[in-house]
Symmetry: C2
Subunit: 244 residues, 2 copies
């Protein structure tokens, strides 16, 4: 018994524990959702999940409460909890949020700290490397990280955490779909261009390119989601005709 002690002590006390078990469980589930390990639509049952992680049902409920308030899980009363599924409206809204915040961030980058620029460059290079290696999951990660670094220019914790929460939802939708899809090298130069324009202070031009980039990205994702949906309905129609 008491597997929670195992969980608590398994970190070798590298850092004194200052997080509750519920928060840790939420973290684990969050990672699984964002990695695509838990697919959108998957329903999560309290008891089996709690047992599999060695925590009590109440603790699992707290963890799920956290994630549902973050928008990663969707709770319907007495009907259970499931991994959230992005609708087209969701995608539209999320890209709207991105436009508003990222453009504001660019305009706030009047005299960027060299340290920030260096972080951007690092993220950029990691992104390009991932693309060259055809590692799409990693590419998505570093792509979004690059954009997160832009948000840093706002210097506002609330806007940052809201942005993080928002692109977490987006990422959940992307891993589902981006496994091996198009995404040619066309995207690489855009990020580098953004970086260069930011560095020399051409903010208006930078904002223009960014807007276009976001529009491209949105329509690409929508298209892929549409294909995906079409494929799924075709598949289900097929299976229905088999059984029927």
């Amino acid at each position: 018994m008491a597997p929670q002690i195992l969980l608590q002590h398994s970190m070798e006390r590298s850092q004194i524990h200052r997080t509750s078990v519920a928060d840790q469980v939420a973290g684990i589930l969050r990672q699984r959702v964002l990695n695509g390990e838990l697919r959108p639509g998957t329903s999560l049952q309290e008891i089996p999940l709690a047992e599999s992680l060695g925590v009590s049902r109440n603790t699992m409920r707290e963890a799920m409460r956290i994630l549902s308030l973050e928008g990663l899980l969707k709770r319907s009363i007495h009907r259970g909890i499931a991994v959230a599924q992005l609708s087209f409206q969701d995608v539209q809204e999320i890209y709207h949020v991105r436009r508003v915040l990222e453009i504001s961030a660019i305009h706030a980058a009047k005299t960027p700290a060299p340290e920030r620029l260096h972080d951007l460059l690092t993220a950029l290079e990691q992104y390009e490397k991932a693309v060259r290696a055809r590692d799409w999951v990693s590419a998505v990660t570093h792509d979004l990280h690059f954009h997160s670094l832009l948000i840093r220019f706002l210097g506002n914790r609330r806007l940052e955490s809201f942005y993080q929460k928002t692109i977490a939802e987006l990422r959940m939708g992307m891993v589902l779909v981006d496994q091996r899809h198009d995404h040619p090298g066309i995207l690489i130069p855009v990020h580098r261009k953004l970086y260069e324009l930011l560095k020399i202070g051409k903010l208006k031009e930078c904002a223009r390119i960014l807007l276009q980039h976001l529009d491209d990205s949105e329509s690409r994702l929508s298209r892929v989601m549409d294909n995906h949906r079409a494929a799924k309905t075709a598949e289900s129609r097929e299976s229905r005709s088999k059984t029927g």
Copy 2:
């Protein structure tokens, strides 16, 4: 015993219950915080609070989890939960958020629906009435409601709920302080001006006035908070010298 049944059934079944007790409790606490009934800094103990509302400790914990994720309560592990207290940095950040979102909203109001304009006018009139009646609590409510209606122009649920959550924090700080403070009629014409400019489509001018209004509002709140803080420290210094 079982007062939670009373709580559940007290709504006369006007609408079939589709909210959990935890959510209801969170709602009650949220109202108390926003009304200033629970002052910032007040520490909340699980067991007494749970008993006073007739719910179990676990349910109360879920409710508190909700509010702490909304930013209204602040949780420090093993040390308890307290009503959040706005710092100066918080005020700065919140007004930054307001500037970004409200200005975006104005620019999105190219051809406002007449229905939306009517809502704005109603809010405006209620606000003016409250000011004339020297009812500051009500004035704050309708002031913030007017601004919330502006956000509606964005047509984005995520941005709306983020905005609501953010000004809820602000309101928590305002009720503490705005009980009988300055706030002369100087503020009234600004809102009406905003409305007029919006109606005739002078968005740039509207945005300019709004920005100035937000700056005014921020500096006024900061000033009042500063006075408040000064008064408090003087008071505590006094009480210390009495006991010492």
